[in-house]
């Protein structure tokens, strides 16, 4: 434990009688405290209001066989500390409920409802305790409980339609969109209440692509689970894969060779640039400025081709593995990387000049889909969307991983929170990423690139965070017997940010929804898992 967190932990021990618990955590940057359920609300309020900490995620674990009870985990972090504070709370007497924080911290609204659906624990005091992850008429069984075998086939149950809150009032109409959309995007249902063109409010229904990923992790041996991690969200394959491997490495207590860390950093930044360029084009496309999209797509393709030459996969899959990376680059590949990045930088500057020169595009994007900083803070928005609304968070800087400690980069933060500034954050980040890659590619990438990973003893816990291109990705694991996982919790930034879309579209006209949605570009698969 470093000095900075010490007073905080001490205060929690004094005020709430929390106990520090050794959890066989591999590293010093996770502190586990045990607290009692009735105190949770006070602890959360104390940490967020007085200590300026942030509740990162909430998740549950079925520990009934080992410790006789369900546990909830509340992960906190605060600016300036590289550590994560994990408050571990056993379910109170009766064992099937927990205290909800959603009324105070709307950021955990969906995550608490997931716990309800997946573990059968009731969130006491939740303002909207309806099902979020499972079908509305799902029977009273809970898939992430240990007594739910993964091959269970449920008897067919009558489908009951999800009830949206009705939109009432003269001239108010309900416009349902989805779950199947035009174009190549994933399913999600949007129910707009509109008065003419302006949107009164938007209701979302996600989880159409729920695949039981967290449960699947418990069935796979660790070396194969990496591939599952890579498929959590297709456009963030490398980020999720790297986050998972970091967690495994921490649990195994192995050091990853520097060469591998630098290569991971380069690949993480390549993934960020690819997606940001694609998004900049897509935003321009949604306001009908097609030329910019044509150039952005062309640039993205050059990077996809580079990806393939570097890793054998356009989406960077199959490269990361526990202990490092699978392959090392030869000089030809490194030259290709440097050459492509230099050529890209020049073309990217032209693309941005083109976008900035189009006044009609700027007119469409400025002051469209505003997410106010105070709302963003309440909703716990992370990543690109957060930084465009004054939320100064970046895991790369706040909790350095891979080789980020060695590079200096700027984290762009804007206060305006409109579509234009979400695009501007992306533009700035691409430029920073290009700088990181240039510096990193000058390392001599030789020698050891994959440390051997021994079988990991059971009951080791590890938390891992990665700044994916969308934002903060969290993986938390507990190892089980036979080199399998006992639990793997995944939090994709999309899960935090969907409520931001709801907030940002209010008061805008319905014709602007597609571009607002695109400026967030959230993953359905990552949300639904």
């Amino acid at each position: 434990m470093t000095e900075a967190m010490f007073p905080l932990v001490e205060a929690l021990q004094r005020k709430f009688g929390c106990q520090v618990q050794s959890m066989h955590a591999g590293r010093e940057d996770e502190i586990y405290l045990v607290a009692r359920d009735p105190d949770v609300r006070a602890i959360a309020e104390y940490l967020t209001d007085e200590c300026d900490a942030r509740l990162v995620t909430v998740f549950a674990e079925d520990r009934r066989s080992a410790e006789g009870v369900f546990f909830n985990y509340y992960v906190f972090e605060r600016r300036g500390d590289t550590q994560y504070l994990m408050v571990r709370v056993p379910a109170p007497e009766g064992g099937l409920e927990f205290t909800s924080l959603s009324a105070k911290l709307p950021a955990v609204n969906w995550q608490e409802r997931e716990i309800q659906d997946w573990f059968g624990l009731k969130a006491i005091g939740h303002p909207n305790p309806r099902k979020v992850a499972l079908h509305d008429n799902w029977p009273d069984v809970h898939p992430l409980c240990k007594d739910f075998p993964i091959d269970t086939v449920l008897p067919p149950f009558e489908g009951e339609r999800h009830l949206y809150r009705p939109a009432l009032g003269e001239g108010v109409f309900q416009v349902p969109v989805g779950p199947v959309h035009a174009g190549i995007i994933e399913p999600g249902h949007f129910s707009f209440a509109v008065a003419g063109e302006p949107i009164l409010y938007l209701q979302l229904r996600m989880f159409y692509t729920h695949k039981g990923t967290e449960k699947l992790f418990e069935k796979l041996p660790i070396h194969r689970a990496v591939f599952l991690a890579e498929s959590i969200s297709g456009d963030s394959s490398f980020s999720h894969g790297a986050a998972f491997c970091q967690a495994i490495e921490r649990a195994a207590r192995i050091e990853v060779p520097l060469t591998a860390l630098v290569m991971r950093t380069i690949l993480l930044e390549l993934e960020r640039i690819c997606n940001h360029v694609g998004d900049i084009g897509a935003i321009a496309n949604d306001v009908g400025f097609v030329v910019a999209n044509a150039h952005a797509s062309r640039l993205k393709e050059t990077l996809f081709e580079l990806n393939e030459r570097l890793t054998g996969n356009r989406l960077l899959r199959g490269m990361v593995c526990p202990g490092g990376v699978r392959r090392i680059w030869n000089d030809g590949q490194l030259d290709l990387l440097r050459g492509t990045i230099d050529a890209f930088a020049v073309e990217f500057r032209d693309l941005i000049a083109l976008v900035h020169s189009s006044e009609s595009t700027q007119d469409r994007l400025e002051r469209t889909g505003i997410l106010r900083p105070e709302k963003a803070k309440d909703l716990g928005i992370v990543g690109v969307a957060g930084r465009a609304s004054g939320i100064d968070l970046d895991v790369r800087r706040d909790h350095p991983y891979a080789a980020y400690r060695t590079y200096s980069f700027r984290v762009p933060v804007y206060q305006a929170g409109d579509v234009w500034h979400r695009m501007q954050v992306r533009i700035d980040e691409v430029n920073e990423s290009l700088g990181i890659i240039r510096t990193a590619a000058d390392h001599s990438l030789r020698g050891e690139f994959r440390a051997p990973v021994p079988a990991i003893p059971p009951d080791r816990c590890a938390l891992s965070a990665v700044e994916g291109w969308r934002g903060e990705i969290i993986h938390w694991i507990r190892t089980g017997p036979d080199n399998h996982l006992e639990r793997c919790k995944i939090k994709d930034p999309s899960l935090n940010n969907w409520p931001a879309v709801v907030e940002a579209v209010q008061g805008n006209i319905i014709a602007d929804f597609p571009v607002i949605n695109k400026s967030f570009n959230l993953s359905y698969s990552g949300t639904d898992r």
């Binding site: 969109v177 009908g288 030329v291 189009s358 469409r364 469209t368 319905i510 014709a511 597609p514």
Partner: protein, 313 residues
Amino acid sequence: MTETLAKSGFQLLLLLLVAPLVSGVIRTLKARLQTRRGPDILQPYRDLVKLLRKGMVIPDTASWIFPAAPYVVFVTAALVGLMTPMTATDAPLSLFGGVLAVVYLLALGRFFLALSGLDTGSSFGGLGSSREMTISAIAEPAMMLAIFAVALGANSTNLSEMARSAVSQSWRFLAPSQMLAFAALFIVVIAETGRIPVDNPATHLELTMIHEAMILEYSGPYLALIEWGASIKQLVLMTLLVNTFFPFGLSSGWSVSELGAGLFFYLLKLLLLSCCIVLVETTNAKMRLFRVPELLAVAFILGALALISTFLF
């Protein structure tokens, strides 16, 4: 009588055949400017053939308006086409009121299209119809004013008469009334044909559509009729624009050699106008929906100024 029939037949054939071609040319030119290869020029014909051979899905909630609207759209567009001088100064058909009939026949088609959008009860159709009506409420008077500015110069609202007077006079495009009227009509054409910055004909985003949203429920031959009708309407509006303001090459008779020369100049003018439209579409983003009336208000004011300046100069 036979002569009128022959002329009508020729012009109808021209309308039906050239209209998809113009759409195809615009699409291909756009693709080239966007560094894409794009579909080839004949693609709209293939689309029409494909749609005509397909079956149809008709919503249960649809009334008689739904099947009637495609015919109304198609027939009004074709009728207007027959009243417009294309290759020769004499249009084969001349109805009461001349340009007035043109404007209101187009309005009739649009009215039925908007009704059919509402008819099925789908929320997108309703959105599209309400948007279309908002836009046309301003586009229509702007178009009237611009055309009247020209009609005043020719002392007639008959389109053939207007064309004849345009050909016989020396070209006076640089007169303020002509330029203003041209600018107004150009904006109206962009709006009426559903092009950027008003509407995006290539989008797949239902929520942003105008014209496409109204016809979302149509399929098969009905969709073919509507698409064909829409491209004829586009051709007619473009024809009005080029032949009223640039009457070069309009033949005064219907002999074969005159027709050939007329056709050549006509296609050339259409190609040039297509290039202008493509440039506007490529260099602009789509406007925010609520700003579109402002653009059309500009067209309206230009039309009004054109009308006033015919009395001044």
